[in-house]
């Protein structure tokens, strides 16, 4: 604590004595304008500034994305070229790739870690951790989060989770290998596979830390959005990014604890001899004493998180794409309230559809049909959103900035991936499609790649605000076109493989008469995957190069955007605004109104102004 903050504490205490209790944070705000004197440690490492924490989440997320992406390239080598050997693999993976051929055990470990890393560490922490931290205070007009300290803890719990998960890659028996869904009994018994030994315990402990991190973050996001908005910023004037991040946080806060309870029971089963998930098991020729457990129970607990998790990943991408599409079409978002309403509907339905992951577990068919109905209902708010994005683009004066391209790409992927969701949501069709490459294709397009596109859109759009410089546009365009064409080339063929019944998670298909014919297709997919991965490295280069050497931002509002973050200085300090926080007089989407290209939210309503 510097002398300034001490004085501030004093003032705060004195003011509290005379004011109502609820005034504390109001008084606090008023004294927050001056710059803190910061050391390297408090500014870059244990920072409590939401913008720095956002950058920490983003850069950690990028590192994880490189690792997770590289894993997919390595296991795609096995799938695409099952007959070949790659001696260099032995150089980097050691005995896991003896003779240049990936061992089956490690193949499973790679698949598991690819899923875990990308779902949780990149698309949850890296995506909503970054943009919720960065955009919430800036766009609602707050100096920082409700609790900057909890916010800092949120990052450091994520960091701890990262360290534990990373270290599990190096243990002798290998990291967890039972799939990212860690279904027991495979994950509950150390004898089941080498990855079910210490690697699995590290996975569970790391995820427990991760859950703590995402809960601390989520609590803060919700409290900040509901309590710390600037004067005039009513809920219906919020940019759609904030609405999306709000529902994301609500989903996380309500569903992650359930995963935690499932994980705790699993830890007990693994280490303390209980049988929550275990019953009647023979492993390695031994009959286990465990009686009375139920493996399906875990699936219920897991998917009660697991399905909302899909929307935790997707909603921020939806929100950012809405904002970016509106800004770069120079048009108001079409149907603002419908956009909010559909986000709300998706958030509610997210909790009511988890059993569609369990159609083939012997679920009561009547119950199954209820879940089919609820699942297909999600098509309604999703279609509303797609309609509104398209009508926002319609007849707009579109600027094809890299951020805009990625936002449009998001819409494209969301449509193609969403349509296959209608196939999979039917319990009758799911009997055939369950656990095939059709599922892999579906969720990679609609959740994985689409959310990545939302994330890229966000990075390209807000990079100038984050670092005061621009990314290189040429590299950005190459990145976009290679990625969107590549994503379709990788995942589109997988639909055909899945319809033909090709199961996911197999190590080698070349021995199956029915799947032999896909050898060439698999090789093609692997080849494209490598090219797309290389294009992502181009982005990483662009990102880090531009932080230091990019073209400098010289205007406050480079995109001509209405939202409050562009009213801050080009490189805002801790506290965001010098002087008063601007007051808000209008919604975030007054584009092309009364002959004006854009009207920022802090512009007072003119006397003759028309109503939208």
């Amino acid at each position: 604590m510097g002398p300034d903050s001490y004085r501030e504490e004093k003032k705060k205490e004195m003011s509290v004595a005379t004011l109502q209790h609820a005034d504390v944070h109001g008084a606090h705000d008023a004294h927050h304008e001056h710059h803190h004197h910061e050391t390297f440690i408090t500014k870059y490492v244990f920072s409590q500034d939401h913008k720095m924490i956002a950058r920490q989440f983003l850069i950690t997320g990028i590192i994880w994305a490189i690792i997770g992406g590289l894993f997919s390239v390595i296991f795609r080598l096995q799938l695409g070229y099952p007959e070949s050997t790659f001696p260099w693999l032995e150089d980097i993976l050691g005995h896991w790739a003896a003779g240049g051929k990936l061992k089956p055990e490690f193949y499973y470990a790679l698949v598991t870690m690819h899923g875990t890393i990308l779902v949780f560490f990149v698309l949850t922490a890296g995506l909503s951790g970054t943009f919720a931290n960065f955009l919430i205070p800036l766009q609602i007009g707050a100096r920082d989060m409700a609790s900057p300290f909890l916010n800092m803890l949120s990052y450091w719990f994520f960091f701890l989770a990262s360290i534990i998960m990373f270290s599990s890659l190096f243990v002798q028996t290998g990291p967890a290998s039972g799939g990212w869904t860690i279904y027991p009994p495979l994950s509950a018994l150390g004898d089941a596979s080498s990855g079910a030994k210490i690697g699995m315990d590290l996975w569970l402990v790391s995820m427990a830390m991760f859950i703590v991190s995402s809960l601390l973050g989520g609590l803060n996001y919700i409290a900040t959005i509901l309590n710390m908005r600037t004067k005039g910023m009513s809920m219906t004037r919020l940019p759609l990014t904030i609405w999306a991040l709000f529902f994301t946080a609500v989903l996380g806060v309500l569903s992650f604890p359930v995963l935690l309870s499932g994980a705790i029971l699993l830890l007990f089963d693994r280490n303390l001899g209980t049988s929550f998930y275990l019953s009647d098991i023979v492993v390695a020729g031994k009959i286990l004493p465990n009686e009375g457990g139920s493996a399906i129970l875990f699936q219920h607990l897991f998917w009660f998180l697991g399905h909302p998790e899909v929307y935790i990943i997707l909603l921020p991408a939806m929100g950012m794409s809405s904002e970016i599409i509106s800004v770069n079409s120079r048009k108001p978002i079409f149907g603002y309230m419908a956009m909010v309403g559909s986000l709300f509907a998706i958030a509610i339905l997210a909790f009511l559809v988890w059993a569609h992951h369990m159609f083939v577990t012997g679920l009561n068919p009547f119950l199954g049909s209820v879940f089919v109905l609820l699942t297909l209902l999600i098509a309604v708010p999703s279609a509303i959103k797609v309609f509104n994005w398209l009508t926002t683009l319609w007849k707009g004066s579109i600027r094809f900035t890299p951020g805009m391209l990625f936002a449009i790409g998001f819409v494209s992927l969301f449509i193609s991936g969403g349509l296959t969701g209608i196939f999979l949501g039917n319990s009758a069709l799911d009997l055939h499609l369950h656990d095939t490459y059709f599922v892999v294709a579906h969720f990679h397009i609609v959740m994985g790649v689409a959310s990545f596109f939302g994330m890229f859109a966000g990075v390209y759009h807000w990079f100038p605000k984050m670092f005061g410089r621009y990314l290189n546009n040429t590299l950005a365009y190459i990145h976009f076109w290679v990625t969107i064409v590549g994503a379709y080339l990788i995942f589109w063929p997988m639909h055909y493989e899945g319809l033909a019944g090709m199961p996911r998670r197999y190590y080698d298909y070349s021995n199956w008469e029915s799947f032999k014919m896909f050898g060439g297709l698999n090789e093609f997919i692997s080849f494209v995957a490598m090219i797309v991965f290389a294009a992502q490295l181009l982005f990483v280069f662009n990102f880090f190069y531009s932080i230091f050497k990019g073209r400098k931002v010289t205007t406050l509002n480079p995109w001509g955007s209405n939202t409050l973050e562009w009213t801050t200085p080009i490189r805002p300090g801790h506290g965001n605004w010098v002087g008063e926080i601007p007051e808000v007089h209008r919604g975030a989407y007054d584009y092309g109104k009364d002959g004006k290209e854009f009207i920022p939210q802090n512009t007072p309503v003119g006397e003759n102004e028309s109503h939208h």
Binding site: K12, E13, A22, I222, V258, S261, G273, S275
Partner: protein, 188 residues
């Protein structure tokens, strides 16, 4: 304009709000565990058991502690600091008693041959009640911090937010315990 200002004044303190959302999140965790218990109970091999006698003493302790912390909060707001400190200490002792009774309750169970890993139903008890105990322990740690502040600090403390936060959280773990107790008595 003045209405907007008024509305902002009435807003709940962000830390309190954060706590409430956090409580919602904890409720979901225990809802997850208790519904897992119900799902499991409807399957084969479920064996009932009796709660240890000592759980009734711990219930009395935590109920009483809710009263003392309520009075402590009132005393703090009326600036009766002596009374506040005494009541805070009383709450701390009662909270610790709760943990001690729970611990020996589990010892009783184990002595009856119902240790961890014997029956699924009892294992649920260990996990659910143990996790609740961990949250009570968290409350005790928070209260110890308040205690240290109340007894060591030379300067006078006016900010009532930390006291209110701890009090709210403490009432929550109390209510949660009552819920769990009734749940475990009714559904067995």
């Amino acid at each position: 304009m003045s209405t907007v200002v008024m509305e902002q004044r009435k807003k709940i303190h962000p830390h309190k709000f954060t706590l409430w959302v956090g409580i919602g999140s904890l409720v979901m965790m225990f809802a997850g565990l208790t519904s897992a218990y119900i799902v499991k109970r409807n399957q084969a091999n479920w064996q009932t058991f009796d709660l240890p006698q000592l759980f009734w003493y711990s219930t009395a302790a935590i109920l009483l502690s809710s009263v003392t912390i309520y009075l402590a909060e009132q005393a703090f707001k009326q600036r009766e600091m002596q009374k506040y400190r005494r009541l805070l200490v009383a709450t701390l002792i009662l909270g610790t008693l709760f943990i001690v009774f729970q611990f020996f309750g589990f010892k009783q169970l184990a002595a009856q041959g119902l240790g961890l890993g014997k029956k699924v139903s009892v294992d649920f008890l260990y996990v659910i009640v143990g996790l609740h105990g961990a949250h009570v322990l968290g409350g005790i740690i928070a209260m110890t911090l308040l205690f240290a502040k109340a007894f060591s600090s030379r300067k006078r403390i006016y900010n009532s937010i930390p006291v209110e936060l701890v009090s709210t959280y403490w009432h929550f773990v109390d209510v949660l315990w009552i819920y769990l107790l009734i749940f475990l008595l009714m559904i067995r």
